[in-house]
């Protein structure tokens, strides 16, 4: 049976993470998931979980956060990807099973998945 988690784990985690933080640079990649009522109802929590899992699997650094409703309720879940120096792309109707392709194409290959884009802000 695996050892149960406790707050004591955090001391060790802190030591390891502090070493990590010193060498880690700001990723410049920010992923924002819409988490208003409309997003939640459409599956945004699962989309966010899939994003975190995919980033972990691929060992990709990115700042992942949430935002409230921006008024495009019909195309939730919405996922914004913004990379330093690049356009801010808003993807719509992003279900959890679409996340692997999104991460691979946009973050790994540097190619926007145009079919899924619902908004764009150029730098």
């Amino acid at each position: 049976m695996p050892k149960l988690k406790s707050l004591d784990d955090l001391k060790k985690l802190r030591e390891e993470a502090q070493r990590d933080i010193r060498v880690r640079l700001d990723t410049g990649t920010k992923i924002t998931v819409g988490m208003g009522t409309c997003g939640i109802a459409a599956g945004a929590r699962e989309t966010m979980h899939a994003i975190l899992e995919e980033l972990k699997k691929r060992d990709i650094e990115a700042h992942v956060t949430t935002v409230g409703c921006i008024g495009m309720c019909a195309v939730e879940p919405l996922v914004d990807i913004e990379q330093a120096g690049g356009a801010r792309i808003t993807y719509g109707r992003v279900k959890a099973d679409m996340v692997p392709r999104l991460i691979e194409e946009h973050l790994v290959n540097g190619r926007v998945v145009e079919d899924w884009v619902v908004g764009r802000i150029e730098k």
Partner: protein
């Protein structure tokens, strides 16, 4: 919504939007009284009496991006259809308390669902907000206070990948322990 944890996430997000820096979430399952209570209490800006009266109107919202506010009405409807109800207690400058009561064994009660994913999604949002979570089921209890977690972590943020992973596991284990035998509707 298909899980009560999704309603909880929605109410937690409301608290953040109201400027809360600390939210207390309590889930109490009482099999002997056949009752489930979910309470969210925040230290945000609060609502005046008029806003509280309108808060359960699906066509009322304080947001500017849309013309409906479905979160609380849906949560209230979910509680009412399970023999319970939802009450709001709020005052400007005093924060807000949302309390939803369900009949625990009601056939239409949605499962509590993935509380770990809900809490993690909330904690990764901005601006940062602390969460004090207590889940009681019969004589079992699980408690998480992110202020204690932040104290132990020092400068390491909750968003650090290893911390996220730890939090998710810690909450999942705690939830499994407190729920013990399944209390969910089939």
């Amino acid at each position: 919504m298909r899980e009560l944890a999704l309603h909880i996430l929605d109410v937690l997000q409301n608290a953040r939007e109201a400027g809360a820096t600390r939210v207390e979430l309590t889930v109490e399952e009482d099999p002997t009284e056949d009752r489930l209570v979910i309470e969210v209490r925040d230290n945000g800006k609060g609502m005046d009496r008029q806003t509280v009266r309108k808060a359960l109107d699906p066509f009322f919202t304080t947001r500017k991006t849309r013309h409906v506010g479905l979160g609380l009405p849906l949560f209230a409807a979910a509680a009412q259809q399970c023999g319970g109800g939802l009450e709001i207690d709020s005052e400007p400058g005093r924060g807000t308390r949302i309390r939803a009561v369900f009949r625990l064994g009601h056939i239409d009660r949605a499962p509590l669902g993935n509380v770990a994913a809900t809490i993690l999604s909330f904690l990764l949002g901005e601006p940062a907000c602390d969460l004090v979570y207590t889940h009681r089921c019969a004589d079992r209890i699980f408690h998480l206070d992110t202020r204690e977690v932040r104290r132990e972590l020092g400068p390491v943020p909750l968003s650090h990948p290893a911390v996220r992973e730890w939090l998710e596991s810690y909450i999942e284990e705690g939830e499994q322990a407190v729920r013990g035998l399944a209390s969910e509707s089939p």
